[in-house]
């Protein structure tokens, strides 16, 4: 497997979120035209990326429910912010956490395809679970009415 193929293996994945997060997604991601009283991201994947990194920062890792109770937003990672190399940065972050995910960089080079698929799957789960943690954090604030109605809300929470 070449570097390119490996990367593609990851980038064709569509991370999922728990259906219970739909309300918070609806409020915080604009998804075209929907407006809310809070500052919003554009497409869902922006919120998802933010939630993933927020989860990492807040150290909130939360497993997703069974697949039937989850959804994806129809966009492969490779198509998130395609015009920038943001996914490369995300992957950089992910690959520094390889111990937590459960693989070794050099081992990857000796794995067969099935093994690599398993690692990729773990990587996606890692993303999903931290994103879920981040979304949960946002969800709690939303439910408690503690989200601040400011255009700087996301960056303020991110510090």
């Amino acid at each position: 497997m070449t570097s390119q193929e490996f990367k593609s293996h990851i980038l064709i994945k569509r991370p999922r979120y728990a259906n219970s997060r739909i309300p918070v997604i609806e409020v915080l991601a604009n998804k075209g035209s929907r407006r809310s009283e809070y500052s919003q991201f554009g497409p869902i994947y922006e919120l998802y990326m933010y939630a993933f990194l927020l989860g990492l920062k807040k150290e909130r890792r939360l497993p997703l429910p069974p697949r039937d109770l989850t959804s994806d937003f129809g966009l492969e990672i490779g198509r998130w912010k395609r015009e920038s190399n943001l996914t490369d940065f995300l992957l950089m972050i992910i690959f520094t956490r390889n111990e937590e995910i459960g693989f070794d960089w050099n081992d990857l080079e000796d794995m067969d395809e099935a093994e690599i698929t398993a690692v990729v799957s773990k990587i996606i789960t890692f993303m999903e679970e931290y994103a879920n943690g981040g979304l949960e954090y946002l969800h709690e604030l939303l439910d408690k009415g503690q989200l601040t109605n400011s255009h700087y809300m996301f960056i303020d929470m991110y510090k």
Binding site: K7, E46, N85, L86, L91, M92, T96, E109, M111, Y152
Partner: protein, 726 residues
């Protein structure tokens, strides 16, 4: 001789309860004032004259003038109604005494109402019979009135108090004064001049003398033909004169057409004048508002857009907010990739051990990576051996060579299943925009906030400016007419101005041509005289000469009178205007009367520098109108012989005009009876305010009455009581 109202009395007329002798108001030549608070009988008083002149009264409920019989039940004093038993009757009426010359008249108009049922305010409860008008006359020397029986004579006596054609200038209520003269229509001033002066008589004379002249000429020509032996030259001269006269008449028709065009344009101009000056300002403001609105919207959009895209800064490589707080990632990754590569290349080395040349590298293959090499090139320093590598030096060239080295990977023997070296290397290179900026993100956030504040301030300032412009625009709206759009008004106004200029030019041309034609006609006439045979009876010639002179003299006299009239009007209007505004601190302008090219009267209000003044308060406008009315009256060669009867003429004047008003009317009208509430003060012992007290001390104020009504009483018991103050 002037008509002077000596008294007016009422019988059970509205709140004027009681018999004629109870409610008698006496007046004299000069200014008479009846002061009454609202609801204390001013309009009822005025209604008495409406009844006298028109057999109508104004229904205060719907402000419509109604025939006496239709509104009779409302007219009868409620107190009188309630005191009338069913089956009994009550009389309601007005009685006016006035004198003119050696006669004094007493006019009584009344009706009798018989009560039929209980409900006194019901129209069905009363049977109304209008009584015959009673008119009595007395010679001042005779002590007793004698009745006038002839209906026409009675009507004439009533008419003479104030002639119907003059009533609009002499008998009005409140804002009716506004409709006396419409400054927008020049015909309005002309009508006033025609009605109030004898200029129309001159016009009649001009018409008559012209007819005489034409007749005399025809007669003369007939005689000439009869007496001459077909004098060809004379015939030709008469023919030429005829042609010239036809041409003249054509030109005069054309002139009249252009004069009409001129007048219409002038009228439109006057009507638009107010709107135009506002329209210009409005248009100017509209443009400013449009521009400001555009700017405000742009900034508002920029601001909204700015706020809405703040979150984009997380993902935009120029801001990279998303990487905030991930400083350690770069280091971790660096150390992991190093570790990875060491092991990676170790494996490779082991695989390639059969090729010693490849084994003995100082550095692992493809190391340093291109990014590090580029750094070294840029910084002119080799980080491998920590030595400077200045541009142009051998070391520097070596680094460049390394960076451009061919990719040899394909020659490598597979030493791992999956070679991910590039995967990690690419991540590190590609993600640079995000991790390179981490240290400056805090600063970027701060700058974002600053930019937002600056945008917000800009927007607030623009909004304030826009509001101020809109407020100004609103102020203009009050005075102007917004139904038409400003551009239309401006274009119409400019159109009217152009038509005035065009028709003025044509009028001058035609007048010139008419003058020439007239002069040609005169010369032809002389030629005709010379060609006329000498045997014409002298009477015809003489008749013709005299009537020609007469026609010319009358025409000149009319023009002179008209010119004088315009001058007089201007003089008097300004005098009256000055006295009307003399207690006002407003700088009064000048009322300017001019003869238009079409021969009509133009009126303008100009300031001391000669600029036309537009728009001013309603009171001021009314003052101007009043000045013109009084000027027309004053300019009349014969004295104005009728009293002024005005109900609340001051309502829009403002107190500063009031004093001037009383003085001015005193000078113009032989007698005035003014009904006002402007001088009333309920809390004062005399029921007069300070201005009232000041005014009643003036000599020209002859009689002052105060009307009193006890407002605590039920309507059914209310009566108007009068206090005679002077």
């Amino acid at each position: 001789m002037a008509s002077i109202i000596n008294s007016i009395s009422f019988k059970n007329f509205f709140n004027y309860y009681g018999d004629y002798y109870d409610t008698r108001y006496e007046f004299e030549e000069g200014v008479n004032i009846v002061v009454a608070d609202n609801g204390a009988g001013k309009s009822k008083f005025f209604n008495a004259f409406l009844w006298l002149f028109y057999d109508q009264v104004l229904d205060s409920d719907d402000k419509i003038k109604k025939g006496i019989k239709d509104i009779a039940v409302k007219i009868i004093s409620d107190k009188a109604k309630s005191e009338t038993a069913i089956g009994d009757n009550v009389e309601t009426g007005i009685q006016i005494e006035y004198s003119t010359g050696r006669f004094k008249y007493q006019i009584t108009k009344s009706f009798t109402a018989t009560r039929l049922s209980k409900k006194i305010t019901n129209f069905d409860s009363w049977q109304i019979t209008v009584n015959d008008v009673e008119v009595n006359r007395t010679d001042h020397v005779l002590p007793k009135y004698t009745p006038v029986y002839d209906a026409d004579e009675k009507a004439n006596i009533i008419k003479q108090l104030i002639l119907p054609t003059l009533r609009q200038y002499s008998f009005f209520q409140g804002e009716e004064v506004d409709s006396i003269i419409d400054f927008g229509k020049k015909s309005s001033i002309e009508e006033a001049v025609r009605t109030l002066t004898d200029i129309s008589k001159y016009e009649e004379l001009v018409f008559l003398t012209k007819e005489f002249k034409d007749k005399a000429e025809k007669d003369l020509n007939k005689q000439t033909k009869a007496n001459s032996d077909h004098n060809e030259r004379l015939d030709k001269a008469i023919q030429v004169k005829q042609d010239l006269e036809n041409a003249l008449s054509n030109q005069e028709i054309k002139l009249a057409e252009y004069e009409k065009l001129y007048d219409d344009a002038e009228q439109e101009k006057n009507e638009l004048e107010q709107n135009f000056s506002n329209a210009e300002k409005r248009n100017d403001l509209d443009n400013k508002i449009k521009e400001k609105n555009k700017r405000t919207n742009e900034v508002a959009e920029e601001y909204t857009n700015f706020l809405e895209t703040i979150n984009n800064r997380f993902f935009d490589g120029n801001f990279s907010w998303i990487s905030l707080g991930f400083d350690n990632v770069v280091e971790d990754f660096q150390s992991k990739i190093q570790q990875f590569r060491e092991f990676h290349f170790e494996k490779k080395t082991l695989k390639n051990i059969n090729d010693p040349n490849k084994h003995f590298h100082f550095l692992p293959i493809d190391s340093p990576d291109t990014v590090s090499l580029k750094n070294m090139i840029d910084h002119e320093h080799c980080y491998i051996c920590n030595r400077p590598a200045l541009i142009g030096s051998e070391e520097h060239n070596h680094i460049i060579k390394l960076k451009n080295r061919p990719i040899e990977a394909k020659n490598d023997i597979d030493f791992v299943k999956n070679n991910f070296n590039n995967f990690f290397g690419d991540l590190q290179i590609n993600a640079q925009p995000f991790y390179n900026k981490i240290s400056s993100i805090e600063d970027s956030i701060l700058k974002t906030r600053e930019k937002e504040i600056a945008l917000n301030e800009r927007l607030t300032k623009l909004k304030k400016e826009l509001k101020s412009l809109k407020d100004q625009r609103k102020d203009i709206l009050i005075a102007g007419n917004d139904s038409e759009d400003s551009m239309t008004i401006i274009n119409r106004y400019k159109g009217a101005i152009r038509r005035i200029a065009d028709s003025s030019f044509q009028i001058e041309k035609l007048q010139d041509s008419i003058k020439k034609l007239k002069s040609s006609i005169l010369n032809t006439e002389r030629e005709i005289q010379a060609l006329r045979p000498s045997n014409i009876p002298e009477g015809y010639l003489l008749n013709y000469e005299i009537s020609t002179d007469l026609a010319l003299a009358t025409e000149n006299a009319k023009n002179r009178v008209f010119d004088n009239m315009v001058n007089l009007l201007e003089k008097y209007a300004n005098e009256h205007f000055q006295s009307l505004i003399k207690y006002n601190d407003l700088a009064g302008g000048i009322l300017k009367f001019e003869k238009s090219p079409s021969g009509s009267i133009l009126f303008n209000y100009i300031d001391s520098t000669g600029n036309i003044v537009h728009g001013s308060s309603e009171g001021f406008q009314r003052m101007k109108k009043f000045s013109v009315v009084m000027a027309v009256i004053s300019a009349n060669t014969t004295k104005y012989n009728y009293p002024l009867l005005a109900d609340a003429p001051l309502s829009a004047f403002g107190s500063a005009f009031t004093e001037g008003f009383f003085e001015a009317v005193g000078e113009v009208f032989p007698q005035s009876i003014i009904l006002v509430n402007d001088l009333y003060e309920n809390d004062d012992e005399m029921k007069l305010n300070e201005l009232g007290k000041k005014i009643i001390r003036k000599d020209f104020i002859k009689r002052v009455y105060i009307n009193q009504i006890d407002k605590n009483k039920e309507q059914i018991d209310r009566t108007t009581d009068k206090i005679k103050l002077k």
